[in-house]
């Protein structure tokens, strides 16, 4: 009886929910109605990018359109798709032939090369110099060549840090406690890091919270640490090698040295004996259990960024000469959809967003007086508007400046950042160009080998890179044999022949 009553009550609840849902249904009509057009007759450019929909996006869009209508004779529609959905939705949109004008693309999300192969992106190499002259002139030919595939450019490059000067980060308070600040700041190679790690470990033994010097040694085996440009993870070209000989990374002396160092440091107890995931590593930082990140990108403003992320003041030092690589340059691109009705306007938009600081910052930070106010206009430093505690509380904070355009035009949001952009631009400008800058590899002939190599990598290279393999020399030999069996030489020869053809075409 009691049971029956409860059940009926439950059904009643469902009925009520259905009634409530009926109200949501009226929301359908609202969605179907097109938004009122203020700029009638002007074409609208649809811009797809990953990110959460911001509360105030309509207001920001209006502010952007006021500029865009006048400057390029078009309005834009910002279509943010959540990070987790972007890859799926954009690939469905592409496959079904749905039109959009601009989309964020990169080798790591909405894959640039797949989009080119499937002809989802329009070639804009001829349009750029004509319709986006200032933007096109703001980067060197070498840089633009990095985005070139089969002779054409399929995406506008966002200027940001192109180089990856790797080096260690250390918590400033720990560095001070062990009294090795001078030693840290004068390091020239990873070998110099060893005594510092030893001192941190000693300090950790007497400290309650700090458990280990670092949590993960694997980043030390990344090829960029040793002056290579990785065309693929294990197929690299030495930055100083003008003849551009493709090498198998695991066969190089540098890799052997890296894994030997990692094993030695592992045995010395600088990292926990159970290998940790990256996510756990972040948690360990936040909890104050570790004090060193052995190898990460050291960039202007990087210390402030890490401090914001992990809550600790840090000191860092780059140990690798910065190098311009294809991968670094094309990490962030905005492409023009191949079914776009207005590709010329889309390229004009790229000019606008990359060269007009007001337009760009409105897109990145919102409207002055509504979402941000000047803290110091001369320095280009802003603060959240209306006494909001952080930019996250202002109603518009996509927080992805690097996705929209030239970050060197972005306003600073933290005093410690001031000056980071010219410094970064300087770093990019003075960096050595990789001998294969502008080369992109087409792996379609060696798909099977690439899959086997990735399996071998997980089975043999990852354990070596984390220091758990007891006999490093034997482990290295096994790894290299497995790599040979997986067909890595075929891949190397394929890359080499493509590199040679690419070099010949440039000469």
């Amino acid at each position: 009886m009691k049971n029956g009553l409860t059940r009926r009550g439950f059904l009643k609840g469902i009925g009520a929910a259905a009634a409530a849902g009926g109200m949501s249904f009226s929301g359908l009509a609202k969605l179907a109605a097109a938004p009122a057009r203020r700029y009638q007759g002007l074409p609208t450019l649809v811009y797809m990018f990953p990110g959460g929909v911001q509360a105030d996006v309509a207001r920001v869009q209006d502010a952007l359109n006021a500029i865009a209508a006048e400057r390029i004779g078009a309005t834009i529609e910002l279509r943010a798709v959540d990070w987790g959905a972007y890859d799926t939705q954009i690939s469905l949109i592409n496959a079904s032939g749905e039109a959009y004008d601009l989309a964020f693309t990169a080798p790591w999300i909405n894959n640039y090369y797949t989009n080119i192969g499937q002809e989802y992106l329009a070639g804009i190499g001829d349009l750029l110099p004509e319709l986006a002259p200032n933007y096109y002139a703001s980067m060197t030919q070498d840089t633009w060549n990095a985005a070139r595939v089969g002779g054409d450019i399929y995406g506008g490059i966002n200027q940001q840090i192109f180089v990856k000067p790797f080096g260690p980060y250390i918590r400033s308070d720990v560095l001070e406690a062990i009294g090795l600040a001078d030693a840290f700041n004068s390091m020239t190679s990873y070998a110099d890091l060893e005594p510092i790690l030893a001192a941190v470990k000693e300090f950790a033994d007497s400290d309650d919270t700090l458990t280990h010097a670092t949590s993960n040694l694997a980043p030390l085996s990344i090829a960029e640490n040793w002056g290579f440009d990785p065309i693929l993870q294990y197929l690299v070209v030495k930055g100083t090698d003008e003849s551009a000989q493709v090498q198998i990374y695991t066969q190089t002396d540098e890799f052997a040295q890296a894994v030997e160092t990692i094993r030695r440091w592992y045995l010395a107890g600088y990292a926990p004996s159970d290998v940790q995931q990256w996510t756990e590593m972040d948690a360990a930082w936040q909890a104050g259990q570790i004090a060193v990140r052995v190898a990460d990108i050291v960039k202007p403003g990087g210390n402030a960024e890490v401090a914001a992320r992990w809550g600790w003041d840090v000191t860092s030092r780059a140990l690798v000469e910065p190098m311009l690589t294809t991968g670094g340059v094309i990490a962030t691109l905005n492409g023009v959809g191949s079914v776009s009705a207005n590709p010329e306007l889309a390229v004009r938009y790229l000019e606008l967003v990359n060269t007009d600081p007001l337009f760009y910052n409105t897109l990145c930070k919102g409207i002055q007086g509504v979402h941000w106010d000047w803290e110091d206009e001369a320095q280009g430093l802003i603060r959240p508007a209306g006494g909001a505690a952080s930019f996250a509380d202002t109603g518009y904070n996509p927080n992805t400046d690097w996705m929209f355009g030239n970050v060197f035009n972005a306003y600073y949001t933290d005093p410690s950042q001031v000056g980071a952009w010219p410094e970064t631009a300087e770093l990019n400008r003075n960096a050595r160009s990789s001998p294969v800058l502008g080369f992109t590899f087409d792996g379609s002939n060696v798909q099977t080998e690439l899959a086997s190599i990735s399996a071998v990598s997980r089975e043999y290279a990852d354990p070596l890179g984390s220091g758990v393999v007891e006999d490093v020399a034997a482990g290295l030999a096994t790894l290299n044999q497995a790599m040979l069996d997986a067909g890595i030489e075929r891949v190397r020869d394929e890359i080499q022949s493509q590199v040679d053809a690419w070099k010949a075409s440039r000469a």
């Binding site: 929910a17 849902g21 949501s24 990953p50 987790g84 959905a85 749905e98 999300i109 936040q286």
Partner: protein, 306 residues
């Protein structure tokens, strides 16, 4: 007449029986209790972790009793309560309304297919069965939904995919077919219309089957997030599971591209918040299951009686 000695023996026998009975029961219960505990511990760990302080969780690891009690994770999720309440509303509506409509359509279809005197029985059964073996794949599905039906960014997009599930139709058809033909014949003799026979005779008898299929359908609606992944861009129409997926995957995406540019990791939900999300998502589903459990057990075992 029994001697005291015989009485004693009998009582001993009884005691031994009782003891044996008790031991066998106890050991059975013990096994089941251990199994139940094994199933419960992971759930309890999640609940406990969701109430643990973030830093304490990293330092002490997962524990059954929070090492340092904190409701910070729930505060983080409910910092923007509108979003999660809306997502609950969407999910509850889609689950409730969708299940009712889907049961109506599927039982009507299954009943018609179960009647031997229905002329189109074979061709329609074939069509239903055919969709179980072959389908167009994701891109035609997407094109159909967005360019022909134009349901993207509406609740219809969430409802449509589970209105008719071929497999459930076949189960229901089998169930209806097992009802005695004489019952239907008798009803017709009494002057009942087809609809009336369906409504007053077939449906009440099929309650256990309907409850089982209803539960399955409700769970499909409740747990579905892929449909939203394909068709929903309007954050106001996010169902609960998809909202949780989005929160989670946004955090992963940010970690993935942390090296690309300046990212404020302060916004990323923490380990404890993930656990809190899991608790919020599974809690209500578990409740629904409790309500339907009785029917479910009956429905599942029903085939065995024949």
């Amino acid at each position: 007449m029994t001697t005291p000695h015989q009485q004693l023996l009998a009582r001993r026998q009884r005691d031994t029986d009782l003891l044996l009975n008790w031991i066998s029961r106890f050991s059975l219960h013990l096994v089941i209790i251990i199994l139940a505990v094994l199933c419960l511990i992971p759930l309890l760990l999640i609940v406990s972790a969701s109430f643990t302080d973030e830093i304490a969780l990293t330092r002490n690891g997962y524990q059954l009793v929070p090492s340092q009690f904190s409701t910070e994770a729930y505060a983080l999720i409910f910092r923007n309560p509108g979003t999660i309440v809306r997502a609950y509303m969407v999910t509850i509506f889609v689950t409730g309304f969708g299940t009712i409509i889907s049961l109506t359509i599927m039982s009507l279809l299954a009943y018609a297919l179960s009647r031997p005197d229905f002329v189109l029985r074979k061709p329609i059964s074939l069509i239903v069965f055919f969709t179980m073996l072959f389908n167009g794949g994701i891109v035609p599905y997407y094109i159909l939904m967005t360019q022909y039906l134009r349901v993207q960014d509406t609740l219809f997009a969430l409802l449509l995919p589970y209105f008719v599930v071929a497999y459930y139709v076949l189960i229901l058809r089998t169930y209806f077919a097992a009802l005695p033909a004489e019952l239907i014949e008798a009803a017709r003799m009494d002057g009942a219309s087809e609809l009336r026979i369906f409504w007053s005779i077939a449906l009440p008898l099929a309650k256990p089957a309907l409850a089982t299929i209803g539960l399955f359908t409700a769970l499909s609606y409740w747990n579905d997030w892929t449909t939203s992944l394909y068709f929903i861009r309007d954050a106001n129409l996010y169902p609960l599971q998809y909202l949780l997926y989005i929160i989670q995957s946004n955090a992963q995406a940010m970690q993935l591209q942390a090296t690309v540019g300046t990212i404020n990791m302060g916004e990323v939900p923490t380990q404890t918040a993930r656990m809190a999300m899991a608790v919020l998502a599974t809690g209500p589903a578990a409740l629904i299951f409790l309500f339907f459990q009785r029917y479910l057990v009956r429905g599942v075992t029903l085939g065995a009686f024949k």
